[in-house]
Symmetry: C2
């Protein structure tokens, strides 16, 4: 029987331009690692947390809170210890809290013999998101748990639809080293939108979903347009318009804000193009003197995965 | 060389619940017939119009106006005569004007050796829609011309995406014999919607597109929800809520307003179910004493088609 596993927890891009609050995708080469082991003692303890300065108290840690939500619903007498090796920067907009929340519950489910469905795991992981941002959103934890693109068709009842992921789709993500809190970037959104903008948005979301299923990269690119949130949130991100236009010039299919920012993502067909886009993004931030990280990654179709396990 | 063709012009269902202004589908067994023939004389003449009381003056007739838009753009010295045999009732909400507009330009393109793309034909047919309702909408003419489900991803530039149509998808349409003008049913819509309702709407549209591509009938049904328009427009349609709940009880996947109404559509898996839904709808209108027509039809994947041709 496996008592301990080490897992990879992918970073994720939520919203994906036209899919505000409903769409997300998982990355392949950007993510955290976690070690989760069964203990005789009950409850959950975060025994190690490296890479980021985050609370280790179970009730203050997203992995702890998500894990407790799961523990309260399964038939298991023991508990878990969790070690978290953060590589995703907190507040970067690529699902740092989601990786920890989703990773914790995914690993626990593995160690317990998989009694729970992916949909149930999303519900528990959402409790971690509630702690992190005040809103139990699912658009990062769902792609982390399912892999690929996932659509949250509905929150009530929760309905998650896996969307086909074209093989040559790569993401480039640039993270300008400024802080934008999810809660702040939500506050500036308007509570009403014009019907005209709404029609454009659902037209584009329909186009994106169709482009993903038919592997029509050009259609994917044409659909990566956000009439609702990007015009407002992009003002919080230095150099956004320049980064976007340079990414498109370098061959990206489309470019937008990752989650609530400040990271900016672009999607490209093929790794070479994604690397060229990364180069173009670097140049912009070097020129305007903003510190940054850049990641290039295939879209991850597997989600969280086991790196190693111990009896 | 073919000088005259007789064509079938399908009725269409626009909006399809969650796809307001962007989605439409074509019907197989409900539609008009038209005869279009080349003439030496220039211009367009409507020489016959049976079945409905509609204007025959070229500039007052949607087929005439759409045809003139086409004529102004092609290299052709002659003109056309058009006979229209209406079976779709004007103002019923299943694309009566669209069938005539789309039929006219489709037939002319056939007779001229197909110099124009389907996308170009949509643009000409939209001029007929502008005459009919004051708005050059494309969500009826596009499915009439392309067949199946079509998504209008964008109006500017016009971008039409054919969506895969599951084989066993049948529509039931009930037309209560009351008049609702498209222009009136547009006026009662609000110009703003809440962001929360918008998110629900694009989540459902994404789910519907995914359900169509994966032939997931259950997902199609779950996605046929309209948070934006149906709550407002349905008050113009007698017995709407009862029809809808009885259709669902009879096994329909979903049910909503066809276009701007007053027709109500339901989608079902298989013809038997669609017939049962028709029976349930009939009962409701018989009980409350509203005159009605009911149609059951497969979703038409071909669009407009030639019935016969003459040299």
């Amino acid at each position: 029987m496996t008592n301990e596993i080490k897992i990879f927890c992918p970073a994720t891009i939520a919203n994906v331009s036209c899919g505000f609050d409903v769409l997300g995708l998982a990355l392949e080469s950007v993510g955290d690692e976690m070690v989760v082991r069964k203990t005789r003692g009950k409850g959950i303890r975060i025994t190690k947390l490296e890479g980021q300065d985050l609370p280790m108290e179970t009730l203050d840690n997203v992995a702890g809170v998500a894990g407790l939500a799961l523990l309260s619903e399964v038939d298991y007498d023991g508990g878990f210890e969790i070690e978290i090796y953060k590589k995703i920067k907190a507040g970067s907009g690529i699902g740092s809290s989601a990786a920890s929340s989703a990773g914790a519950v995914w690993a626990m489910n593995e160690l317990l013999g998989k009694p729970l469905s992916s949909l149930e795991l999303v519900k528990f992981a959402m409790e971690g998101e509630r702690l992190a941002s005040g809103v139990a959103h699912a658009d990062n934890v769902a792609p982390a748990l399912y892999g690929g693109f996932t659509l949250i068709r509905s929150y009530d009842p929760l309905d998650i639809i896996p969307i086909h992921t074209p093989k040559e789709l790569f993401a480039t993500v640039v993270h300008p080293q400024i802080e934008v809190k999810t809660s702040d970037s939500r506050k500036i959104l308007k509570t009403n939108i014009s019907l005209v903008d709404g029609i454009k948005q659902w037209g584009n979301l329909g186009g994106l979903i169709a482009g993903l299923f038919t592997e029509d990269y050009n259609l994917i690119g044409r659909s990566l347009v956000d009439h609702i949130v990007e015009p407002i949130r992009s003002i919080l991100i230095p150099g956004f318009e320049t980064i976007k236009s340079e990414a498109i010039k370098a061959g990206a299919l489309g470019c937008g804000i990752s989650g609530s920012g400040p990271s900016i993502f672009a999607l490209s067909k093929g790794e070479d193009k994604a690397n060229q886009v990364a180069g173009a993004m670097r140049k912009v931030y070097q020129k305007i003197g903003v510190d940054y990280d850049v990641h290039v990654s295939k879209v991850n179709t597997q989600g969280i995965r086991v790196i190693s396990s111990k009896r």
